[in-house]
Symmetry: C2
Subunit: 328 residues, 2 copies
């Protein structure tokens, strides 16, 4: 039996995911500019988990949808996601993603910017084809939250004054806004009542936040072999993630000087990572962040309760538990 919730979704929606894949390939074509499918295929073919499209298909299925607009919306969210990755990698000057060279490295920043714009406009065409204004409203708002979150991350980065409230805004932009839009539009396209579409929004929002906090924690205490992440990457990149924000909030003068030197100024020495982890432990920052992640996962599970009884609903509930199982 397939145990990971993600694999169970993939198995259940195999035929629909094939249709989504075909739609993505068809829509990334460009008669005149072959650079577009080249760059897109590099990313889309790079073994992403297709989690976002599956969330849309799952939500529509739970709410009894039987048409094909769920496939269009699944392709839409994957296009938005891919466009965001292209722009992110330019902004972060990344050279690797999912173990492969990034598009900005293989081609150039210009191609990543413009192909990202193209994919965003293609996603826009796809969602208009559904003819559903509420879907368009949800995705327009999600796009604005994503873009605002990215700018906020840029300006709040390395600023020790960053609050947990700002952190949540950034996380919603980075992850949760597209998760919640993906689930909500699935319900909307199925014609589900408002309390159900609101529950689907809440589920996606909480799932995305739980996922991101868990990711932050794994950077300080993960098993490199299991996660594929190196311990301390975020610290070395001077990212103000939730455990650090919590530790900074309780720092005395000496500790503040340490965080200022390592995060704000970026002057890091051997042993600083160990010291940072020790500070976070002494203030209970890691435990507190873990509790936050578990609470958000629990909130995601509770949100599902008002949805119709459905095997896919059970998989989504398991998924909420799964994203925090890595830190539990």
């Amino acid at each position: 039996m397939l145990s990971k919730p993600h694999d169970r979704l993939a198995a259940r929606f195999e035929a629909k995911l094939d249709a989504v894949g075909a739609l993505i390939r068809a829509r990334m074509e460009s008669r005149h500019a072959p650079r577009i499918p080249e760059v897109t295929a590099h990313l889309v073919g790079a073994g992403g988990k297709r989690l976002r499209p599956m969330l849309t298909l799952a939500a529509a299925d739970i709410c009894g949808y039987r048409g094909e607009n769920d496939e269009k919306l699944a392709a839409t969210v994957e296009f938005i996601h891919t466009a965001t990755l292209l722009h992110d990698d330019v902004v972060d000057e990344s050279s690797q993603r999912r173990g492969r060279a990034t598009a900005n490295l293989l081609w150039d920043n210009k191609s990543s910017i413009l192909v990202g714009d193209y994919l965003f406009s293609r996603s826009f065409q796809l969602m208009v084809e559904t003819g559903n204004l509420r879907v368009l409203d949800i995705l327009a708002n999600a796009s604005a939250t994503i873009a605002e979150g990215e700018v906020l991350q840029l300006t709040a980065a390395r600023d020790l004054a960053t609050s947990e409230e700002i952190y949540l805004q950034v996380v919603r932009g980075k992850t949760a806004a597209l998760f919640s839009a993906a689930t909500e539009v699935g319900g909307v396209i199925a014609g589900a009542p408002d309390d159900q579409t609101a529950a689907l929004y809440d589920y996606g929002d909480a799932l995305g936040i739980a996922f991101q906090i868990a990711d932050d924690l794994l950077d300080f205490q993960g098993d490199t072999a299991a996660t594929g992440k190196n311990i301390g990457d975020d610290f070395r990149e001077r990212k103000l993630t939730l455990p650090i924000i919590k530790a900074v909030a309780q720092a005395d003068a000496t500790e503040r000087a340490f965080w200022r030197r390592t995060i704000e100024k970026g002057d890091q020495q051997d042993g600083d990572l160990d010291h940072a982890i020790a500070l976070m432990q002494s203030h209970g920052a890691l435990d507190s962040a873990r509790v936050d992640a578990l609470s958000w996962a629990a909130k995601a599970g509770v949100a599902l309760e008002i949805l119709p009884d459905h095997p896919v609903r059970d998989i989504l509930a398991d998924l909420a538990g799964y994203v925090v199982s890595r830190i539990n």
Copy 2:
């Protein structure tokens, strides 16, 4: 009396343009990320002519529109235009626009990319608020044409094999797609019949193409004092504009070697610009491009004929003549 058609439009729509300006200021706000209004205000305040929003207001007026959605759509096209400028300046590594330092120079490329994305998502929210699916379809298609044209320009740049057909695609992406969307949505929002909205599309498309070809020509024969452009800027930046494409199509072996050296390889010496102009003259390339610009302007004027008799229609007709008056 105000003679320039552009000034006559600005005078006629003064109140509506104020409302559009207020809408733009309100929508570029960000509660959390002050970088967004900073960057946007720099561009929006930089004395752009607001030609695109005026085209939308004009088209709606001619077709008898009396509501306020034309203001939302005018702000939408200005946001799309501004987002495009931000990304263009990063891609072109520009340091000046309209005589001022570009945002990528004043802040950084990251801010320009992400604030551009934000403005695009804001434009998307604005157009959704009109609740008109046909408007959304038109603007989604225009966005795709713009983005595809930009990628095409990137890959076709400096390639002597670039045909006039490819050039037209690039120009549609660069200028004409947003002009034609701006005029068409004005008619659609007014509930104009299909033949009128098609005519408004044709007008905007032809106006944009005429405008761009005229701009290309002015680079080789303009009056620097009047146009504010330096003669030969495009040549020095190795841009394959229409006059060069026409000259290359008729080049003998020696001439091809000259174009390959100056445009493809970028190895330019004193006297090359004069020689390039002489080659274009000897093949009638400048005259031929001028005829093309005048034909597109004429096409724009003819498109207006089926629209209702209206003083604003007459101003639009004058505008078509005006964009090519600089080269006539």
